[in-house]
């Protein structure tokens, strides 16, 4: 057990809805951004003088820009259907982590300044000023939302708390109250090209090292090309795939798939990041700037297709937003969807017979699959609704003999966030991350005990990083965590049959 000064939730047989505990996670705030993080993104370096009026003004501006915000601030009836659906509420018991109550932090301000009821009868409708105390709660609790959208599944009006927390973060950035972790990372993408700040030479060295490693272990010359013009595919992976465990195992899986299929590809050092933290801070402009790097590279390298690696929110931005942010993609091959998820890509090749898998290679594993929140609830794979759930599972079944599902209330569209999404994968929020992982850990422990599961298949860089760190705290070995393409990497038969293009 790690050395911690807070209570680690006790894992029960079932996920239990706890009673409220006022202020239970009020002490868990993010580190504030400093001038060096804020200024490069065009945000005020420190809290501005007239932050109250500026903040309210910004809210008014966003109401005119986002229908979601205008409608969702208006129509909540406070039925409470969402109240017990948030992993952070279940894990911390803090009432402000009930999605409805989190949104109330903004609704109270909205009512006060933008509705007749809030101006005339603030006490009756619970309207409140945008004051010091409110801002403090905004900083705290809008950074205890991982924007996973689980609440929106159960809301009778589809109210999406992610939209509200994104708007809140955009408002806070606009008055100079930023979050260090997310703003720092967005800055790194603009200057270096990826979240981890890996410069081109280091990336090149890593890829070469991995190529040698694969040659040694497989006997095949599997390439991980960098900045190669004229390649068929630009592979955009989360930069964690280049440096972190177990991410790197999936990267080798992607490379083997390309190798075996005989499709040329390249990684770009300029656009070496699939993640887009512009989404976490709610900034359309930042999202667009980050996405533009990929479009620029795709043109410059002359590729015909875009394939995105295993990363949840990145797939949301790529699948749902890229066409708006950086499209149209009329210069790419119209015979393939733009972009394609690596799971779609691999599954498609497998279906065509271009890949051969040996399931026995994963016989040391009993696998279960964690649907990443953004993939499950904000994207699709394939051409049918729900393909985002089906295709990764089909890949696991194709590469493993033993696959087991977790509690149906914790998978598919009802999946729980890993606890580290939405820009919260940072050390100062460790207590929140541990507690927020409780629902997933509960479901996982259940199948580990009942069905001998020993491998948690993932398709998200954040999920992988979060679980690698959190599961050991709950007494589950770190090696349990891995990517779906790690399974592919183990099972793929190299040289068994040349691929088709």
């Amino acid at each position: 057990m790690a050395d911690v000064n807070y209570e680690i939730p006790e894992i029960q047989d079932e996920i239990e809805t706890p009673r409220l505990k006022e202020g239970a996670s009020a002490h868990l705030g993010p580190y504030p951004a400093q001038e060096k993080h804020m200024a490069p993104l065009g945000f005020p370096a420190a809290r501005v003088e007239d932050w109250q009026s500026k903040g309210v003004e910004k809210l008014g501006e966003l109401l005119k820009k986002y229908r979601s915000l205008q409608v969702y601030l208006d129509i909540c009836v406070k039925c409470g259907a969402c109240a017990d659906k948030c992993h952070y509420y279940l894990g911390t018991r803090d009432p402000h982590n009930m999605p409805v109550q989190r949104a109330e932090l903004m609704r109270g301000v909205y009512r006060r300044y933008f509705t007749p009821a809030g101006k005339l009868l603030p006490g009756v409708v619970r309207a409140h000023d945008f004051d010091e105390e409110t801002l403090k709660k905004w900083v705290t609790y809008f950074h205890q939302c991982s924007q996973c959208r689980r609440c929106s599944v159960f809301c009778p009006y589809g109210i999406d708390t992610a939209e509200i927390s994104m708007a809140a973060r955009e408002i806070m950035d606009s008055i100079g109250v930023g979050h260090k972790y997310t703003t720092e990372i967005v800055g790194k993408v603009h200057t270096i090209g990826n979240n981890l700040g890996i410069p081109q030479p280091a990336l090149k060295g890593t890829l070469e090292f991995l190529e040698e490693d694969m040659l040694d272990t497989s006997g095949h010359e599997i390439r991980l090309p960098l900045d190669q013009p004229g390649a068929e595919v630009l592979l955009v992976a989360p930069s964690a795939d280049f440096f972190s465990e177990p991410h790197i195992q999936s990267l080798m899986g992607y490379a083997k798939v390309f190798h075996q299929a005989g499709i040329s590809f390249t990684i770009s050092s300029y656009a070496s990041e699939a993640a887009n933290f512009g989404m976490f801070i709610g900034s359309f402009d930042q999202k667009r700037k980050i996405a533009a790097r990929i479009a620029k590279q795709a043109r410059e390298l002359g590729v015909k297709r875009l394939v995105v690696g295993e990363c949840g929110h990145a797939w949301r931005v790529a699948y749902s937003f890229w066409n708006t942010l950086a499209g149209p993609w009329d210069f790419l091959d119209p015979n393939y969807p733009v972009p394609q998820h690596i799971c779609e890509f691999t599954y498609d090749l497998y279906k065509k017979g271009a890949l051969v898998f040996d399931r026995d290679a994963n016989d040391d594993k009993v696998v279960t699959f964690h649907d990443s929140c953004n993939v499950a609830r904000a994207t699709r794979m394939g051409d049918r609704p729900g393909g985002q759930m089906m295709i990764p599972r089909e890949l696991i079944r194709a590469t493993c003999n033993r696959f087991v599902e977790m509690d149906p209330d914790t998978i598919g569209e009802k999946t729980f966030c890993c606890g580290g999404g939405g820009g919260l994968l940072t050390d100062e929020l460790m207590e929140l991350r541990v507690k927020g992982a409780m629902p997933r850990v509960t479901a996982l422990k259940r199948v580990m005990e009942d069905k001998e599961v020993n491998f948690l298949g993932l398709i998200c860089a954040i999920c992988k990083a979060q679980f690698s760190k959190i599961l050991p705290i709950y007494g589950i070995p770190m090696e349990t965590v891995g990517g779906v393409h790690q399974l592919v990497s183990n099972a793929i038969q190299l040289g068994a049959k040349r691929g088709i293009v």
């Binding site: 820009k65 409608v71 039925c79 009821a117 599944v153 809301c155 589809g158 999406d160």
Partner: protein, 236 residues
């Protein structure tokens, strides 16, 4: 007096409701954000919205008790509203007599549903925590409407003929409030004022969920961002 109130409340309601719908329709949807799995066709989206509006599909997934209370209340409210047409239509088509029994039963179901929703607010600690005075007051207002209506149906019958004449005439000529010459008439006046109050606060309260749900991007967008380029009107 009745005529002035009827016109004032109607104008306020129509302008307020219209203004809100205009606001919702005017505000742009910069990005595709349907909660997936989502329909990939327009017809699919219409079906999705229908299941949400008619069956409260998502609420059913989320909270069975809230769903039961809301379904009972809203379903019954529709029947009750249809039955109320009898007070505004003359001569009354024969088919309205068939509605009578449904309308009366619906009145009971409606109050029961509201009661359940009210109890949830008091009993479940999470729902109690999130409830504001306004949330209770709106439920009390609707309960008041329901109880006063049932009271008139079962016990204290007001002068229905006189009331109907006043209601039929209120748009065309200046009508005073119906006379309060019996306890039933007094109950009717209370019923009438609550109804006027309901329409008055409607556009300025959470009751706007009636119009808003059709504008919810997570529910009304087609899941086709790769197939069709969605353009953000303020950043194209």
């Amino acid at each position: 007096m009745l005529t002035i109130l009827a016109y004032a409340v109607s104008i306020l309601f129509l302008l307020g409701f219209g203004w809100k719908i205009f606001l919702y329709a005017r505000s742009p949807a910069p990005l595709k954000i349907p909660t997936t799995p989502a329909p990939v066709t327009r017809a699919g989206v219409i079906w999705r919205l229908f299941t949400e509006v008619a069956l409260f599909n998502s609420l059913f997934k989320g909270d069975k008790w809230a769903w039961a209370g809301a379904m009972a209340f809203h379903g019954a409210l529709v029947l009750v509203a249809v039955r109320h047409l009898r007070y505004f239509v003359d001569p009354l088509p024969a088919s309205f007599h068939m509605l009578q029994i449904f309308g009366i039963v619906a009145g009971l179901v409606m109050v029961a549903g509201l009661g359940l929703l009210f109890l949830r607010r008091l009993v479940i600690d999470r729902v109690r925590y999130i409830s504001s005075p306004a949330d209770y007051l709106i439920l009390l207002m609707l309960l008041g409407l329901g109880f006063s209506g049932l009271l008139m149906s079962f016990f204290l019958r007001p002068d229905i003929v006189g009331i109907k004449q006043a209601l039929l005439g209120m748009w065309g000529s200046v009508q005073g409030l119906p006379a309060a010459s019996s306890p039933g008439d007094v109950v009717f006046l209370a019923h009438l004022f609550l109804a006027l109050l309901l329409f008055t606060i409607f556009p300025f309260s959470k009751l706007m969920h009636l119009g808003g749900i059709f504008f919810s991007p997570t529910r009304n967008q087609i899941d086709n961002p790769r197939e069709e380029r969605h353009v953000n009107p303020w950043a194209s």
